[in-house]
Symmetry: none
Subunit: 206 residues, 4 copies
DNA sequence: CATGAATGAGACTTCATTCAT
DNA sequence: AATGAATGAAGTCTCATTCAT
């Protein structure tokens, strides 16, 4: 009783918005956008159905807000852990490590964020596209710098190279989240970097 | 009139099923499962709403059938073009080429098939998971053979390596389908193989 | 093959109408009007769905025709067995006997005919009402004659008396048809007559 | 305006369920189960279509609930008026009187409740059968007691006798409800008892 | 602010009926 | 005459959103 009362009082203004967003992540992650009912989100959040509408215009807006917040957290997480390194190899390693760590720490969240959202809303789709474009541009910039420094090959099409480097990052989401792989981010990061930098060809002359 | 008559006669039995499947691919691709109404599929197919139910039990069954048929076509397409080559490098190249060609030739279809389907149905999800597992196993087998032949490095974790090799294939779907890239499959295939086999590191000592 | 062909050829014009009616009785009896689909009737009759419409305008008309035919058969059956007797007691006995025999011989049919049809159609309802009115009038006439002959009490309201005499006839339908009572019509008939004529009161002074 | 407001406030919680049930009785009685649309029930109840589903899972469940409630009311009504009498004759008289009174007071309701429901649902049918079995058993018990006391003949088959006594009760439903007979329950009750107890035979030696 | 009962647009699905073969 | 593939009107039920309390 008092516990619930305390919960109530501690959930002041802005905090309730957060509460809803967390419930939304959980529910949307488990069942997808269309199979999640507003009432379920409300229940998970421990509030009334109508209250959600005090903080979000509609189901779609709630979903969008959740995506934005989540991606923001993702990017912050990447930046936090990826500042110091200098060589391309170190950068990539740190990037992957940060990515894997984030995924492991926010399983439910990434299940939604890295889902290619069903085309249920053009506005949302446009936004997703722009996020993707930004990610790609960052990758291109990264590789360009690598080329300038002589660390990266200059004989390949930079766009194609970037698409591969970027997209490969997602290779781990499925085993990590869905299958529950419980590997060390460092191990994956080293494999990723090794392959992307040196390929899988056997050069030992063996 | 004669045109319609011809249509009728040519759309015998099995052909109408195909007609519906094609309409379904188109509509599901454009708007996703939940935003596509059975009536729209019917209209696109040029038939009545009820007719769909003569061929498919329900909307979900139609979707499943479409997925199965599409993936079957995809795998057949891969196998057709990937028989002759012997070295690992040649195999990967052919594989990517076939993948890209299929995507380009079936833009709408791949938009649905390679979407991670929203968790709207557990049966469908299980099936998707099993498809994924099969793809991964094939990749693992491919790389094992390469290791045995001394073409592929043996110092990397084969599972992680396989996940990367497999997943990277999907790197081109977005630019090809959504952005409408119109590149030569061969060029992409060569880049893919080059990077996966040799990495992006500059080894020229430049 | 030849068997089916023979069936076909032997089912000439009017016979196919009968075939459909028999199938209709069976299906309507088992599942009721609304839960019986035209296709099921067609299948039971061993013909095509569209053929029914060659003989009956609509599902409702088919139902009506089935009811009419069935009731006609019922009344004929009653008359056949109820001609000779002279006293009221003998008449009632014969009547019940004929009624029971008909029910036992046409279980499926009576299941439909004696159902109070759901008010799905005003025309049908009117017809049912008129049938009922006729039955009642016959009963009234029967009892009037009995009164005139001094066989029946004259101190009771003839309408109420008639309603009871008539309605009681239906008391046996449920155990006979639904529960599958397998009793001798004569036994029931004697009980009915005994009770209706003499009541259940113990007059033995016991 | 104030009227509507009053309605609202008076229709709290449980009362709306009742409101829906009353509307259901009315509509089902008038048009039968299959010809009654949920929307019509809603309109009659003066509420929205979806509201019904807040109180009842489905159309069928609503129908079942209505039947159960109605029968409960019927049995209560019978028991209320049938306590004091001692002789068999008095009992039967009271029973019929109560039955008739209930029918007259709940015309619409009895139109549904005493309809032999079309076999649209096996669960409902089973329930109906069990109700019937219970009614019959009560009648058998009643007559057994009468036999023990020497009030009822012991030379008749008790099952057949009971079926007749029970079923005859229904003889008045049609004229009362459908034809709108407006007779005194006492008159009918006396006729019923007189006939069932003493029969219709003229014993005056006239 | 918070609530949840009430709402009704909208989607799937059924099935009597039609009509070209 | 017989057929059964095709049709689309109609009905049940869901669920995002509103609004009186």
């Amino acid at each position: 009783m008092s516990g619930k009362a305390e919960d109530r009082s501690s959930k002041k203004k802005k905090e309730k918005r957060q509460l809803i967003l967390e419930a939304a992540v959980q529910e949307f992650a488990r069942k997808g956008y269309h199979n999640t009912r507003m009432e379920e989100i409300a229940q998970t959040a421990g509030i009334g159905k109508g209250t959600i509408y005090e903080y979000f215009e509609s189901k779609l807006k709630l979903f969008q807000a959740m995506m934005e917040d989540s991606l923001k957290a993702y990017f912050i997480s990447l930046e936090e852990k990826g500042q110091k390194p200098v060589t391309m190899e170190q950068r990539l390693t740190k990037l992957v490590e940060a990515h894997i760590s984030f995924c492991q720490a926010n399983k439910e969240l990434t299940r939604v964020v890295f889902w290619d959202p069903e085309a249920f809303d053009s506005e949302l789709r446009d936004w997703t596209v722009s996020i993707r474009a930004e990610k790609l541009q960052r990758t291109i910039d990264l590789l360009k710098e690598g080329i300038d420094r002589g660390e990266v090959r200059s004989d390949l099409d930079i766009r194609i190279m970037s698409e591969i480097v970027l997209h490969t990052l997602g290779a781990f989401w499925y085993p990590l989240i869905v299958e529950g792989w419980n590997v060390d981010p460092g191990v994956i990061a080293r494999h990723y970097t090794e392959i992307i930098m040196n390929g899988i060809k056997n050069n030992t002359g063996n």
